[in-house]
């Protein structure tokens, strides 16, 4: 599972592990994170629904040593959860990061 997650985050530029899918999020924090990434100009966001597979849900928490969902990766790097992308959007840093991918 760790190998599988590593593959997903390294082979895709922008990845979010979320509850539900971007068109139908199952959690307010997941919904807000997707929205913020889109607002920042993110294209081709790869979304992984952790509710679809308990092994991924536990696996991603172990991979990042981070206890909550959503989790966002840009260029293979773990960015954080909803609070962090929100703060990065407010400071303008998220737009710069997304534009640079």
């Amino acid at each position: 599972m760790q190998e599988k997650i590593k593959n997903i985050v390294e082979k895709n530029k922008i990845v979010i592990f979320m509850k539900g899918v971007p068109e139908a999020p199952q959690c307010g924090f997941s919904a807000q994170s997707v929205h913020i990434l889109q607002q920042a100009g993110a294209k081709n966001i790869v979304a992984v629904d952790v509710l679809a597979d308990p092994a991924i849900r536990e696996g991603i928490k172990a991979y990042t040593q981070w206890p909550t969902i959503p989790q966002i990766f840009i260029n293979g790097e773990f960015i954080g959860g909803c609070d962090i992308v929100t703060e990065m959007a407010e400071s303008g840093e998220l737009k710069k990061t997304v534009e640079a991918v």
């Binding site: 959690c27 307010g28 924090f29 040593q65 981070w66 206890p67 909550t68 773990f78 960015i79 954080g80 959860g81 909803c82 609070d83 962090i84 703060e87 990065m88």
Partner: protein, 104 residues
């Protein structure tokens, strides 16, 4: 109130905050009355100086690891240094007493 108090005392002890707010946001999430599942915390601590947001959030996740594992379903947080808090218009901390009122 039990978990809220527990979160408050653990953050107070673990991060020595200059300012701390623990807000139970559970009622916003359609859970039964009295639930303690969704929290927001505002932590202002000098221990955050020189640390990235991810590092700051990890410090809080670590202090609250037990709660996050057992009972807390969602935790949203604001993590600031005392300087950032003041710049953001936070209440700031009053300067220490220098004893002038007792001077003859």
């Amino acid at each position: 109130m039990f978990i809220q108090k527990q979160i408050e005392s653990k953050l107070a002890e673990g991060l020595k905050p200059a300012h701390l707010e623990v807000i139970n946001e559970s009622p916003m999430h359609g859970v039964p009355p009295g639930s303690e599942s969704h929290f927001k915390v505002v932590v202002v601590s000098s221990l955050f100086e020189g640390k990235s947001l991810v590092q700051r959030h990890r410090m809080i996740n670590e202090v609250l690891a037990q709660e996050l594992k057992e009972s807390v379903h969602a935790l949203t947080m604001q993590t600031l240094t005392p300087d950032e808090w003041t710049k953001k218009g936070g209440r700031g901390t009053s300067p220490p007493c220098l004893g002038g009122s007792k001077a003859g």
